[in-house]
């Protein structure tokens, strides 16, 4: 098989699942806007991001399934794991909040993804490097789009500015988790397969600060402040269970059926 390394397949699978779950769960959240956006063009844009993310998720799950073998499929990984098995960062599963909160989360996530994928290009794992390469173009657009919107809303009306400050307050303590490596991340780094997320924190902070500044929003310095964690190792918020109940219902109700 494609397994090119001598650290455990489990760890590699977990490494990939973290990447995949992040994109699937955020895609699921963003897709809640589809048909309900504030402007038609932006309804289309957020759905487009949702589509890009689910595309990334599929590539990653397919790869993880091929490594795991035993007839596992992308759908089995997405639809038949329980909430303690999902490895997405908590920020991706938080409720959308208003449009401002949604796009601020997108900025935080996309800047992280951009830095991550840029490094992942160097992965010894050719499949991961290829997925990163393909995804990087999409993510670059996500960063641009969400930056523009954060600036627009931060430096828009009094109301929009206040809403963005509130969104910042709500989301900030969920951004630290990106940079605290899970055991499978540490292992993947040691094998030159994974990305050292701790090294991404400073460039992430700089890029985010730059956008917040232009958005006339309070620039957060306290990247080392207390942060929510747990998602990467399956300890989630109470929100994920409800996401899964809805998302997985069909596969759970009709086991083994093809769609």
């Amino acid at each position: 098989m494609q397994q090119p390394v001598n650290f455990s397949t489990d760890q590699l699978v977990n490494y990939i699942l973290n990447l995949a779950d992040n994109t699937l769960i955020l895609s699921q959240r963003n897709s809640e806007w589809c048909g309900h956006g504030p402007v038609l063009e932006q309804d289309i844009a957020i759905t487009n991001i949702s589509l890009d993310l689910i595309g990334q998720a599929r590539s990653l799950y397919q790869y993880a399934a091929s490594l795991q073998g035993g007839g596992t499929t992308e759908d089995a990984l997405a639809y038949l794991r329980g909430e303690r098995e999902f490895k997405n960062c908590l920020i991706t599963e938080l409720p959308n909040g208003d449009w401002g909160q949604t796009i601020l989360r997108q900025l935080f996530f996309s800047v992280f993804q951009q830095l991550l994928y840029a490094q992942l290009l160097q992965s010894k794992d050719a499949t991961l490097a290829a997925i990163a390469e393909k995804s990087l173009k999409e993510v670059t657009y996500h960063v641009r789009w969400s930056s523009e919107w954060v600036i627009r809303l931060g430096d828009g009306t009094e109301e929009s500015h206040q809403r963005m400050e509130k969104a910042l307050e709500t989301l900030w303590s969920y951004t630290g988790e990106f940079f605290i490596p899970a055991d499978y991340e540490t292992a993947a780094v040691a094998e030159s397969i994974g990305v050292d997320v701790t090294a991404l924190q400073q460039p992430w902070l700089e890029k985010v600060q730059e956008v917040l500044q232009e958005a006339t929003l309070p620039v957060k310095e306290d990247a080392k402040a207390w942060m929510h964690t747990g998602g990467k190792s399956g300890r989630h918020t109470e929100h994920l269970g409800f996401i899964l109940a809805e998302m997985q219902y069909m596969q759970r109700a009709y086991p083994g059926a093809e769609w």
Partner: protein, 315 residues
């Protein structure tokens, strides 16, 4: 030039299949009819996102979820083209949308039916998009240029959607007994509402004659409906499903399928606002619009600020 002369030139163009363009003179009634018809069509795309959007979070596989997302997104795109076409006639998008929210403008009644199972997503693609396409193909040759051109783009995507819907049902029809039942059930529920999409019978249709003359419409409701029935009956055979109409049978003499009478009481009832989801759909649209107001305001305010700053710089 007198109005009579202008009207003559206009009608000559129409008759010679020369497209009418935004800057051309056109009769007020032509303009009004177009605004009404195109905006109704635009609203149908936007409201039509809701019944299908209802299944995005629950789509049964990642592939189906991605396809469905892309499809609903396409509909938003169609809405955009059409609102733009309305704008070429001098009515702003905001005005058009307000008319929807106030209940002044209509949208296709089909979207007032609920999507109850996953098979409904297939049935909508196959039957609802199938019915829509017949109308839209005709409209690709509409006399008003921007409308006709929007329709050309829409038609391409729409026939893709119809195939996707058919394929959803095809998989179900070959699936477990539960899936087969789900497929048949969805078709049972969507068949008659799809037939209603072509509107009242020709004998009861109010706007048709003038629209034919203006070449906004080229086929009558009943013609299109017959075309639809003939097409679907054949495709149903591949799906191995029945259509819920005992009167449905081949009429060799006419070279068409005969079919039963539509429940016109239900038709008018839904048009009047009493469909299963009329309230729900309009409320969802109003809510999205109202809750998005601060976003639109902020974007406008930011654009103003930016412009002002650039002027200062330039000065």
């Amino acid at each position: 030039m007198s109005v009579q002369e202008l009207e003559k030139i206009f009608q000559d163009k129409v008759d010679q299949e020369i497209k009418i363009e935004p800057k051309d003179w056109m009769p007020d009634a032509y303009r009004k009819t177009l605004v009404r018809q195109i905006s109704q069509h635009a609203h149908s795309e936007i409201v039509g996102m809701l019944p299908e959007g209802n299944w995005i979070s629950r789509a049964p596989s990642l592939k189906r979820k991605a396809i469905l997302l892309a499809k609903v997104q396409d509909e938003a795109g169609h809405g955009l083209y059409l609102y733009s076409a309305v704008e070429t006639l001098g009515t702003t998008r905001n005005q058009t949308i307000e008319d929807l929210h106030s209940g002044k403008a209509k949208y296709s009644s089909i979207f007032n039916y609920p999507t109850l199972t996953w098979a409904d997503i297939g049935a909508i693609g196959w039957l609802v998009d199938g019915a829509a396409i017949l109308n839209q193909v005709m409209l690709c040759r509409a006399s008003y240029g921007p409308y006709a051109r929007a329709m050309v783009r829409i038609c391409k995507e729409e026939s893709f959607h119809q195939r996707q819907g058919f394929e959803i049902l095809l998989v179900l029809s070959k699936g477990t007994p539960e899936q087969q039942a789900m497929c048949q059930d969805a078709i049972n529920r969507w068949w008659w509402p799809s037939l209603m999409m072509f509107g009242p019978k020709d004998s009861e249709s109010t706007h048709s004659d003038q629209s034919m003359t203006w070449k906004i419409k080229r086929k009558s409701n009943d013609e299109l409906r017959q075309q639809f029935v003939d097409m679907i009956v054949e495709q149903a055979k591949i799906l191995n499903v029945t259509l819920p109409d005992p009167a449905l049978q081949w009429n060799a003499e006419r070279g068409h399928y005969d079919f039963g009478e539509i429940d016109w009481v239900e038709f008018w009832n839904v048009v009047k606002g009493n469909g299963p989801c009329n309230k729900q759909r309009l409320e969802a649209r109003r809510k999205a619009w109202d809750e998005g107001a601060w976003v639109r305001d902020a974007a406008a305010a930011h654009a103003e600020k930016r412009k002002a700053r650039q002027e200062v710089k330039a000065a």
